[in-house]
Point group: C2
Chain length 230, copies 2
């Protein structure tokens, strides 16, 4: 699937959400839309804050970069995407203006709390992830669908660093259950590129790297503006 | 992963949420907890209602059965599950009482609207699914993680009809993007059983069966009470 493009638009900055120097005061709904969710909030545990601080230090020399994360795409970026890739019959713009990015749609602390960091030399995307109480599958543990979501997002962001792309395959081995409210490290690595195909591997581990929770591979396909998605 | 067990507890009725004849009036929060979400609500489109009615007709002779769906497990069922399968160090019961089933955690119409029907002779689980505006991935389409979630749930319910089980692998081919607010049919079929392994196939198609959106296979492992999950 092709949800990666949205992230590219949001995070690699095709259109900045707020232009530098723009003095207009944002309304409360605009503040929510333009809020960067990949920053600490009161629901973050000490573990997540410590890891965040460690990675922010790695960003200081420019080798790593923190990726901001929003609930909605800036209007201009959305229009650009639709013009380039989406067949006109699917452009229900009025309704779609209310749509929200799935992984940011739950309230603070209850859903996906995460932040991603990218190393362009290593072609590696790391996601620090804390699963909230509304991500439950089996009692006390994160739902397999929520795990698939965080894998899709992390491998997807790794892919779209190479160009607008869509997921074609996810193959996920669930090895151990992830307790709710624990912090885990999602590690995603670009393995090879063959034409428009991007092959990416992914693991989810405990902070101390002693527990391997999940292993996955992902295949992404670079989008072609001459071939509409639908 | 093992989120299937929760569903078994909820849907195959280890403990009924309300005992017949219990006269006590439910508080508003209890009403939310005990609400069966697998029934029509105002957000359901005409397509989803029509399909629902068709399947309800199939239930009349007992060949198919509609599965109810809740946000939380009944307390007794939760305790039974934890006693049987979860190591004591993971039993944070106080916090966990606030946990919610991931696929039911978004508000009406904005997240996963779905209902499942099971045919025990055919070993087949059908899920009628409408993806709300907060499941967005790429602009206008359902997130790959949300698609993985509905596949995990449907194949999982097919598996646990054979016994409490956990997902070990999901392998998903994303063939075409699913537009937000459209209704699709998720079809899950038990293929074979080898010891504790359950092999299940899954497709997601348009209502007219002309569009194949997604194809997947799933492997589930039956749980063993002598081997805690964690």
């Amino acid at each position: 699937m092709l949800r990666r493009c949205a992230m590219r638009l949001r995070t690699f900055g095709a259109t900045p959400a707020r232009r530098p120097g723009a003095a207009r005061r944002l309304s409360s709904s605009e503040k929510v839309i333009h809020k960067d969710y990949a920053l600490p909030n009161p629901s973050w545990t000490k573990d997540l804050r410590l890891l965040f601080d460690q990675f922010m230090k790695k960003c200081e020399d420019g080798s790593w970069k923190r990726l901001p994360s929003y609930r909605q795409n800036p209007t201009q970026a959305l229009q650009e995407f639709q013009t380039r890739f989406v067949d006109s019959k699917f452009k229900k713009e009025e309704q779609m203006s209310k749509a929200q990015q799935f992984s940011r749609s739950l309230e603070e602390g209850l859903g996906f709390e995460y932040v991603m960091f990218y190393n362009n030399v290593e072609k590696r995307m790391v996601c620090l992830f804390q699963g909230g109480l509304h991500l439950q599958g089996v009692p006390g543990f994160v739902h397999g669908g929520a795990i698939a979501t965080i894998i899709d997002i992390t491998t997807g962001m790794c892919a779209i660093a190479e160009g607008v792309a869509m997921t074609a395959n996810l193959n996920i081995d669930y090895k151990k259950p992830i307790p709710l409210l624990s912090v885990v490290v999602v590690n995603s690595q670009l393995q090879k590129i063959e034409g428009r195909k991007l092959f990416i591997s992914c693991t989810i581990q405990s902070i101390d790297e002693k527990t391997l929770y999940t292993e996955a591979t992902a295949l992404f396909i670079k989008l072609d503006p001459d071939k509409p998605l639908t």
